[in-house]
Symmetry: D2
Subunit: 301 residues, 4 copies
């Protein structure tokens, strides 16, 4: 349960006072504002602010293309056209700001997306809370035997129990020592900027993260992908649920062209054309490497 009663009260208070604005308003996103969507055991994502809606994308495109966009009958058609042709700038006209609570090892992956604004809770200034990510047993999986960066079978029985016990007791002990080092009770107390280094990477941190819709969709494409690590994927999925309500037309286009789409190489196009013409093509005749062929067959059989 990620929220204290105080936090819940704070959120309800923030939601109690609508004010008039002349800006574009997304009803779907207003319903999410400030609310915490739980992720993992102690994490959450919260929408703190947003700018723009589907119309803002259309409006920006019409500034660019002027009379040239008149022939597109409607907003949906224009948004799909923009997505299909990789016109990214109109999608950059929408912006969102999230409050995210997440384990440090997830944060380290997330921060690699550079085109965003971030304010992270600083453990140089302040003391972190005693909250660690401990996976559900169903998530405790073995190393994949086919993929260097993936997971395979779920751990069973004794091994699962031993791993869980280790994660729990280590987290508890490290936090005890963190407090013991910081304590000024009868001693000087180690500086916070030093004591923090003893904490394991499943401790939770939090940040404000702000980005535009184009870059957010790029993040979602990579992190809501089935190959992404489960612990970041659940954050991406929670965000995707908000984006769907915020800009439904753009999100539908994104799902069709990006999340549900594939990119074919020139070689793959050639193979598909030969198949469409009735030919049977083998890996050897495809010009593809074994790995490439395996990925190709996963999609096309």
């Amino acid at each position: 349960m990620p929220l204290t009663p105080e936090q819940t009260a704070e959120i309800e208070a923030a939601r109690a006072n609508p004010r008039p604005t002349l800006r574009a308003v997304s009803e779907g996103m207003e319903a999410h504002l400030y609310r915490a969507h739980p992720v993992l055991d102690h994490g959450f994502i919260r929408v703190i602010d947003y700018m723009g809606d589907d119309s803002a994308i259309v409006q920006a495109a019409r500034v660019s293309y002027g009379a040239g966009t008149k022939h597109v009958q409607n907003d949906e058609g224009l948004i799909r056209y923009l997505m299909r042709h990789w016109h990214s700038t109109p999608f950059e006209m929408c912006e969102v700001k999230l409050h995210v609570k997440l384990p440090v090892f997830v944060a380290r992956q997330w921060i690699r997306h550079r085109t965003a604004n971030v304010n992270e809770y600083s453990a140089r200034y302040s003391i972190l809370d005693r909250e660690f990510y401990i996976p559900e047993p169903a998530q405790l999986a073995a190393q994949s035997t086919v993929n260097n960066q993936g997971r395979g079978e779920v751990l069973t029985g004794e091994e699962s129990a031993r791993v869980l016990a280790m994660l729990k007791s280590d987290a508890a002990q490290m936090y005890d020592h963190y407090e013991a080092m910081l304590s000024q009770d009868g001693q000087q107390g180690l500086a916070r900027e030093l004591a923090r280094m003893n904490l394991p990477m499943n401790i939770y941190t939090q940040w404000y993260w702000k980005t535009d819709l184009h870059n957010l969709m790029h993040f979602l494409r990579l992190r809501a992908d089935p190959h992404a690590q489960y612990e970041i994927r659940v954050y991406a999925e929670a965000i995707a649920d908000c984006v769907r309500d915020w800009v439904p037309l753009a999100f539908a286009a994104f799902e069709d062209y990006r999340m549900g789409g594939v990119t074919l190489s020139a070689k793959a196009i050639a193979v598909l054309k030969r198949r469409l013409a009735g030919e049977t093509v083998t890996q050897e005749a495809s010009g593809m490497s074994k790995g490439e062929w395996r990925e190709f067959v996963e999609v096309w059989g």
Copy 2:
């Protein structure tokens, strides 16, 4: 007069329908929304959307510094502290979207600020209007004799009249030829993407330009500076007037620390300390070059 009656009506319509929102609202900025602030002879800036206010800056900083910010008594003190110590990320939490109409030669300077999102009217798709920047006589200045990139004395008499006449007749002629090349009346008509190259750089273009407050202040520091070219400075000043109403505390800190501040080199610090100790320091004894010394004396006498 930059707006047609249709545009004015459109703006009034956009301002007629306030809607409730749970987001942060800046009253000062709401008053500007959609309205056109005239700049130069045919240009304007309009605020189309914004995200955040002074409180958003404070809120982001408190996420970062946690309990560490409790000792700062108030928002103003915290904002001034952040500005003084070059903490840029909290200011990145505010975002603004402008609609700007501006001459192409100004746009070429403006676009050098890369950390922004832009949708420009495309002359590949659409036909530009017959609108050119023709300076006021008071702005028709000679090349500076001391500064390779500045202006000197205002042109007088006959020369001023001749220059003005040239600018006007050339603009008219080039636009006539643009239309003549595009015309499909009894001929094929040159492609728009080609015809546009005959237009001079004082023709007006327009764009949507979106950036965060930190990068906007960087833009203002460079472009509202007295050394900036007049034709971009007036845009920066019009924007600054909106920012003052949007985030009054941040803007006041910006004026004190950035617009009104100076940076001293180690050499300049040493000279000032010697002066404070009662010594008279010459350029030769300062270790500064002549140019550096001249700039130093401009500030410190």
Copy 3:
């Protein structure tokens, strides 16, 4: 002919003095260094500096993936894997710096690629040369009748001659007036920062442009595309010829996966699968719009 004898001599001098270095060296790129590749009537691109080669990409990837990359037999396989899976950071480890001379209207399109470093010749400080882009008759095309941003048939006979004459005489006249306004012969002389606004956008400018290989390939994908405007496409093609010699493995992967590849939407995948299963699918049954279907049929018949 874009180069003066002085410039040619300067280039030969720069190429005359190899110096020893311990850095990665690309023989293919050394052959291009400083040399001018002519583009359009007065333009060129020149490679001024570069960092890294195919091995640098591999090296960076092996830092990331450690022992995980051991199973990939060779550099080519790894580079193709990285490209196929959109791993962009290893390609960012190579950097190139170009000197480009190009018409202003091309520069305006080019500069929209923000992830690059640019130093452009400043017409505030200096006086531009009398050089304008005048298209070959074969490039003087009419507006496309099917595409708002494209060209159609080449202009013929009298219309072509009239357009060419207009472009030439306008350029000459505008430059004459530019000089007349600047002249300090018996008058004050208009400031350079003002006089430049009377110049048409087919005048040549020049800049140093530096970017990394990942962003360069993104630029090439958009600008060497058949839908890009001819006048920027020829620059992209000239750059592509240098990149091919610089990082041959990365460029081959880029050609296969990006330039020669296509992206399919979820709808398009479904249609292709039905076709592979022997079904005939119509636009109506495809779920695609007419425009989308037309683009689909262009590739797949």
Copy 4:
């Protein structure tokens, strides 16, 4: 001692084969190439590649300012001018690529500098080494009593010993557990992407980090500053030593204007002017807050 004999041999091999190049060469930087500069107990920085030198900065500036730069007598004067007037683009024309080995908590601070290219060793793919940062006793300091983010007195006697013992034994235990969870000896073995979360943040990671000189100097200004945390400052200082040898003119200007410089607010300028006129100004009369005044007095007495 951060390097194994194998690594040392590898570095010497890389340095054994100079090859001819036509590019700009910095003798000072060639001497650093590949060599490891030790930082902290197991870390290092190594220069892997670089592009440009002091002349490249000058060359880029002269492209921009054309004849306008002719009056500057020499390269040093021009570089100082560019630095003084915040012309950042010429400094962006130089690029450097470093190999850095550093504790995770330092990496987390470092990565906040977004304008850089990074390839980090991935603990999803590969297994981290048993190497942890354990501070020297002289670095084990108490929390500052005046600064929420700083250190105060060095810990003494028993407390110091207890903290050190805790850090060492915790690191050892966590790594033992990391190995125990990964082990496939008679069990499935936990996936690497999960096991890594049990590691404390003083474990070492490594990355390739590439950035341009302008952004590097911004990094150095913040991280080589006395207020930066010691553990990142020593990296900044090691890098600064390389930059000094790479671009000596630019680095000297940087030291004078940035590292050794200060920024004065409008209020501070006013106070200094009153002092220069012989007046005694108190905090109350200065218009500054207490914190601001304290910082002012630190510099000016």
